[in-house]
Symmetry: C2
Subunit: 457 residues, 2 copies
């Protein structure tokens, strides 16, 4: 996908194994090591590049990666005096290829934008860059982050399976230790689903809490910048830089005595055995840790959420893919062309009813979720399905995309084939920091006791 | 502002006065003339460029304009075989400088983006270009279309007065016959206010009915692409190309027998004598034409709309100007820096309450507006104020921006100093085509009888 890993320049300047294996570190760990002077950004970048070189033939997570440029950036970062270094100094970030980067192409996995290279940074990328992050490259996506057809990327835990989508490359790269953190986007389930399939953490923050400027638009009222990591601490790092702030500090003081809700959701019929077992086990683990877990059945007015989401989604796609349709109809997937010509026959009235009904449900879910430390719910139907053609079902994620709530995927469980399964934690809107705090405790529990162990290849 | 009018190439190839004065035509008239073979696109462009050259020293509507490139585009359009010409063949369009154009800089009137030139087309520009429009240049704006401080642009009807903002250049260019149509944006009153001040028509369509991709973001939930013209027919042309469609064809069959509402709005205390007289006169004219006009007092739950709008606006600015603040705080206006550091102390709770309260009002205004051919309301407090430092008060427009309804500014009235005053017509969401149909009849009446006459200099 346009990456040029064969032209990699430079070598690992140290033969110390801790540095050669630095690709295994979380961003927080790597940053600490760099801060202590135990590793340069260049050494860290070299470690990641070697990992990528070793694994790219199988995982194919990259739409664009220029190793020479990565090293050049790393050297520039190493030259910054210590007192001038940003809060993300040396953090290496992969960026989904629907997010604009002024120094790399942005191609949206669309032939219309092949090799397109607008010199513009998305708002999020500008913030990360200014904070001292090193942008590793662009990761694969389904077409415009809007179709269900996977790119060539495979699941790092089983290359015969999908890594999910639409943030396929970001989920796979973080799952495969090719990047410690990555940016994705979510309109339906494009951040949380790949997180579950690849066995990593992900945060879909409150809608519109981080600027979406410079993200390709599918549906304005849903699209959200998402982020992947292998630890909650890394997500907290990013939340700091993006100025994600709750009104009040979280009163969560650990699992013991905390009250959770477990919610099968109106999409429960789609849950396979892997997710059903994971949810049961999660409840048992939480209770074992001293938490209360209540079963939550959402009021019936939430029942239509999946349909409301789809109606608004298709109606917005009609608007936002109009230009691509006009410019290169023959290069647009029929699925998206159908949006533009309104093959689904969605009336304005239906569109507005969906838009208004979802709006009315948002304060209600805030009230409900506010009664708990978090709501625990499925992230996906089951482990990653076989094949890379389809990126899987997003119904469990779409609910929360529609409701604008923050969601964290917590890995830790596994399915019948030993593939990772994650679960979602949900909080009211703008309780992102609280949710991360809860997620840290829950993540430690699930990772320790859930049954799935990351087995780095 | 970076325009280079002195380097203009080419000359008017005809000495026929009708072509020399082609700049006076509406886009529809110019297109018809071109279609008949009575004028080339190049001749038309030359006429506009001469007009601009004559007037630019006073009006200063342009942030960027390259006459050589305009002529080059015009010649390319003239070479397209007749059967391959697009629906906007030869329509010349000015583009507000917060809207990305791949072949021109986009500078947002921000020193952070001075001479910035990302090679990317906004969705709307791509659609216009593909339809055969000629992009004339970039028009001035307040900083990021988000401050109240005017650029150097003056009102074409009195250079001691503001053309309004934030779409200052687009409003002034169309008012001054420098462009037949122009794109603007509206978050508060940025499209409708300049339309009133410059004596032109403008459509702020239903929120999210035209893709906002490639427009600088101030507030996602309000920002809307707007458009200026000197005739409703021209706005209809654009509505066609942007695929603006209502569910049902309008049943409006002329003013006689039609039922209008006149609504002073909760902001009436801000209305000056010019607007009060205009509204009275408008009602008299409509009744004289056989229409019924009922006084509409919005239910009290609408009273807080201006405050709700401002709360959500500032809260969104906090998010969307974060990158600019990080990259170049010292180059950001204090007004916008205050958004980012939340000087207004807006809590997440207040932000969500504003967001949800506005959402709840939208279906209600649809129901109310649906009972009338249109709601008639003030566009602005009065004629354009003196001075160009402040772009004026947007409160009358912000109401409808918050409610997502389409609005058309209808010119035709004048204030105490002979400056134009327009009035707003409002319809339910996604009744844009109906609103344009009503606006055509109302516009003809107001332009004929309202008292203000366009006096081309």
């Amino acid at each position: 996908m346009g990456s040029s890993l064969s032209s990699q320049s430079g070598r690992l300047s140290s033969s110390r194994p801790d540095i050669a294996e630095a690709y295994r570190l979380t961003a927080s760990e790597a940053m600490a090591k760099i801060r202590r002077g135990d590793m340069t950004v260049e050494e860290y970048a070299q470690s990641l590049l070697l990992r990528i070189r070793k694994r790219d033939d199988v995982v194919k997570a990259w739409a664009y990666l220029d190793p020479d440029y990565v090293i050049k950036q790393a050297r520039a970062l190493d030259k910054i005096p210590e007192d001038k270094r940003g809060p993300l100094h040396g953090v290496v970030i992969a960026v989904k290829d629907v997010i604009y980067t002024k120094d790399m192409p942005t191609q949206h996995n669309s032939p219309i934008y092949r090799d397109d290279h607008p010199a513009i940074d998305s708002n999020a990328v500008a913030v990360l860059r200014e904070a001292g992050a090193l942008l590793l490259g662009k990761t694969t996506t389904t077409e415009f982050a809007a179709t269900l057809t996977g790119p060539a990327t495979t699941n790092p835990h089983d290359s015969s399976r999908t890594p999910g989508g639409s943030s396929s490359g970001s989920g796979a790269a973080v799952g495969d230790l090719q990047a410690p953190v990555a940016l994705g986007t979510q309109t339906g389930g494009s951040t949380i689903r790949p997180a579950s399939f690849n066995g990593v953490y992900a945060l879909k923050p409150t809608w519109n809490s981080i600027s979406r400027e410079g993200l390709k638009i599918y549906a304005l009222i849903f699209d959200t910048l998402g982020m992947y990591a292998r630890s909650i601490d890394d997500l907290v790092l990013l939340a700091d830089v993006f100025d994600l702030q709750d009104d009040d500090e979280s009163d969560f003081a650990g699992l013991r005595g905390a009250k959770f809700a477990v919610c099968q959701t109106m999409a429960w019929e789609f849950a396979g055995p892997g997710t059903r077992e994971a949810l049961d086990k999660a409840v048992t683990l939480l209770r074992g840790a001293g938490a209360t877990v209540e079963e939550l059945r959402l009021p019936s007015e939430f029942d239509d959420l999946p349909e409301l989401h789809e109606t608004a989604l298709f109606a917005e796609g009609r608007v936002n893919f109009l230009a691509a349709h006009r410019v290169g109809k023959e290069k647009l997937s029929p699925f998206l062309a159908d949006h533009v010509v309104n093959s689904h026959g969605i009336s304005r009235k239906q569109q507005l009813q969906a838009f208004d009904a979802m709006a009315a449900l948002r304060p209600k879910i805030d009230d409900i979720a506010g009664q708990y430390a978090a709501i625990l719910a499925p992230s996906v139907p089951d482990e990653a399905p076989e094949g890379i053609q389809s990126t899987g079902n997003a119904i469990f994620c779409a609910i929360w995309s529609a409701l604008h709530t923050p969601v964290v995927n917590i890995p830790g469980f596994q399915g019948a084939n030993g593939m990772p399964i994650g679960l979602s934690l949900i909080a009211p809107r703008y309780r992102d920091r609280h949710l991360l705090k809860v997620s840290k405790a829950v993540g430690e529990l699930f990772e320790a006791e859930g049954g799935w162990k990351r087995v780095p290849k």
